[in-house]
Symmetry: C2
């Protein structure tokens, strides 16, 4: 019995130890995850500190006696404004702040008017008139929020309109100091909003426009990476194919569903003042056009993928015939995309190089067609066996066409963008750095257009540098931008 009890005790202690070590492992793992998450995009940490700082700053309305004497409990509206207006991007903060400010002003004025109107109707009629007004304006403003145009830009304003109007109208029934109340509320909201906007713009700003710009360039780079890897994947010996392992090649998949993130960023970017090399009336719409074409190209990859992963391949002699032109096609199209992505990143249009690559891939199309022609006369095999190879090549041709469309859209974009000539290192140090990087490495570029004449090459060589300063890896980028998406609409 005694021994049994001792055994039980030992067992219990062991279990406690096991539990504690498990707990410790779990906690350290979680802490490491959090650290990694913060390191992936340090702007998240900076943003959190900015919000904490703004909150502390606005608390002064309570801590400092003279401020508290003039605003009293209305100080809480400043706190509410800071919590709710502090968005990750400058565009988000400005859109929220301006919406909140103007909606409060308009609804406050209407509310005061409604209270005065209701007072004409006697003490019994007053709540009825106020009730009808609150009901009808509340319903109308709610309905207006369904309209796409209003929703896109003024959704938050409509919400604050309902809120402020109802509050002013309803409290007006109980207090005579309605004007004092309105003044206090508006001034505290202005204080809170101003703090947020100033902190957002002047302390490590995160510009939605710059994010959008980088995102489009990165997406084009992802397409280029896929095309670069295509040759190795499709024409590899069967035993060498590593299915679904090459994550760099598959990273284009995030483009398939990135539309809503792009739309959100473009919407926010419109609220931002000129910054860095972006002017105030930057053609944000054109980003959407380019993004649409990029996505169209990604759709083609998705179909092409089926043929890469398929075990059914065309006969070897046919494959060996089309291998060279197909490889050139995909490689040159990839190089063209890299050049486009780099043009966008450095904000220097380099259409000469892009067009040279596109021309090369078009020449390769002709060679593929020639290979098809010769196979049909030489071989006696039936059509059925050629299908996978033919379809693959056919989709590749479509991809080249798609790349050409992207290049045209980028060309049009550069025509409208008028990026500021000189870089302002204060506002976008990263872009400046890129530029430097790019200039420094100019000499070490490996020639790619080997087949072309020397002159054409030397005039276009400098855009072939690939600057590896991408955003964080796909998954994190996704979550970060996803955050942006769902955060754009908080009171």
């Amino acid at each position: 019995m005694n021994l049994n009890a001792q055994e039980k005790k030992a067992g219990f202690l062991q279990r406690v130890k096991a539990f504690l070590s498990k707990l410790k492992d779990g906690v350290t793992k979680r802490i490491r995850n959090i650290q990694k998450f913060g390191k992936d995009d340090p702007r998240r940490i900076i943003h959190s500190i900015k919000v904490g700082f703004s909150l502390t700053l606005v608390s002064m309305l309570y801590y400092v006696r003279p401020l508290y004497n003039s605003f009293g409990v209305s100080g809480m509206w400043a706190i509410l404004t800071v919590v709710v207006v502090s968005e990750f991007t400058v565009g988000g903060t400005l859109s929220k702040g301006l919406n909140r400010g103007f909606a409060t002003l308009i609804a406050g004025a209407l509310g005061v008017g409604a209270v005065h109107l209701a007072r004409f109707c006697g003490h019994k009629g007053e709540p009825i008139v106020l009730g009808i007004l609150v009901f009808s304006l509340g319903a109308a403003a709610t309905f207006s929020r369904f309209f796409p145009r209003i929703k896109q830009r003024y959704d938050y304003g409509a919400l604050i309109f309902i809120l402020t109007f109802t509050m002013v109208a309803v409290s007006g029934y109980r207090t005579d100091e309605i004007l004092v109340m309105a003044y206090q509320r508006i001034s505290t909201i202005l204080i809170g909003g101003t703090i947020c906007i100033l902190v957002s713009i002047f302390v490590c700003p995160v510009w939605a426009g710059e994010d959008l710009h980088k995102m489009i360039a990165n997406n084009i780079n992802k397409l280029a990476n896929y095309l670069e890897g295509f040759e190795g994947e499709y024409f590899a010996l069967p035993e060498k194919i590593s299915k679904e392992t090459n994550s760099c090649v598959r990273e284009y998949k995030s483009i398939l569903t990135s539309k809503s993130t792009e739309d959100t960023l473009a919407n926010l970017a419109r609220w931002e003042p000129g910054h860095g090399r972006f002017r105030l009336r930057h053609p944000w719409k054109n980003y959407m056009k380019i993004a649409g074409l990029v996505r169209q190209c990604a759709f083609h990859f998705e179909i092409l993928n089926g043929y890469i992963l398929s075990d059914v391949k065309a006969p070897e002699d046919f494959i060996s015939k089309i291998q060279e032109p197909c490889s050139i096609m995909s490689r040159e199209a990839g190089e063209a995309l890299k050049a486009i992505a780099n043009s966008i990143k450095t904000m220097n249009n380099d259409s000469v190089c892009v067009n040279a690559h596109i021309e090369n891939s078009k020449k390769a199309i002709e060679n593929v067609k020639f290979a098809f022609k010769s196979s049909s006369t030489e071989t006696e095999k039936d059509l059925l066996e050629f299908i996978p190879g033919v379809t693959m090549a056919s989709i590749l041709v479509e991809i080249v066409n798609s790349v050409e469309k992207i290049s045209e859209a980028v060309e049009e974009f550069f025509g409208l963008a008028h990026f500021k000539e000189t870089l302002d290192p204060k506002l976008s140090p990263e872009l400046e750095q890129q530029h430097h990087h790019h200039l420094i490495h100019r000499g070490s570029v490996k020639p790619v257009l080997e087949g072309d004449n020397e002159e054409e090459y030397s005039s276009s060589s400098h855009v072939l540098v690939i600057v590896h300063d991408e955003q964080p890896p796909t998954t994190n980028e996704k979550t970060n931008l996803g955050a942006e998406k769902t955060r754009d609409n908080v009171v």
Copy 2:
């Protein structure tokens, strides 16, 4: 001079008249637009009225003397809660309401604790301790909002946590009645939240889950419509092709970018209690799986489209050979999709019919292959000319595979869903109606599986009914669901 002045006056009057008539036209046009917008989805109007009603109800806290005496100005928290928690769907309202309630409770308790802790540090230390606490908790909660899991479900809760904690901690510095304040705030928020949730659930509820369910079924129907129209578009005589006119055929395009809407609806659906034939633990995740496969199929359509619109077609004798099997392939795949969509709509799995159609389209694949084989021996034309036709057929084969995958996913879904056997007409009258419709029209179905044996056909005929009670047309549906998307995160 006088004449000139008269002329001027007449011209001025004319301009005024023109302006007024223009204004009138503009106003009537706008009013008509608004009416149409409301008619497209009357639930929008109902929602607006519901919000107005809730606002009026909550105003009673001010109008009714005994209520005002017990809550005072804290009544405004109830108004704020109503404005902010009233979402279009039940799931949205519940998620907001519960997040707000729990976050307020937790943050309120922590805030009271923080105030008591700070009081130990003397009058000078108090604001410093409070400031540090507000800064660190505010920054930590802001950072937590970046994590995808928290963002997806508890983003609003984190926001309210920051808000409430800061307010309680900061006002605690100035008032000794902090517990009274906390009690008033929490009880008014509970009142406001309860009103919203009750109105949302019991007055014409809009269930996010039902919307998602219908959306998936409609998307599958859109795919079916495309395949139905494919034959007519591709094999039409060149002069008969109407490029980009057949909007019904192109409506699948909305599926390409519908992921974020589906994700949002699925997220909200998880908050909803069992309703209609949906149980509490309905497999909402599986909708995402089906939706992913549907989108994959739409990607194929997007590529196929290029070949429909292209002027380069294969030689006529080749086309005429593959026309029949290709037509059967697309038609049968389309019928399978219609059957699947109908299964989902009526919540009655009819795999027999779906599988029969899929089998038929697979048989057609063999016929296409046979046609390819025979053309390669018969004709002497070169491979190049066949490319467009071969690629088209090859993509069509991929589409049939894709439809089979959708059918398997739907099969799996039905295995998990366990829809309630009896329909509850109160909770989903529309679905009930559909069911009736479906039964009534059973006899009038035109046989489609002509080639099949009588028995198989008669056992599966009833799912071929296409119930035309789709959601509003694409554009409106899009905007409406878009509204849902951006509205899900307001304070």
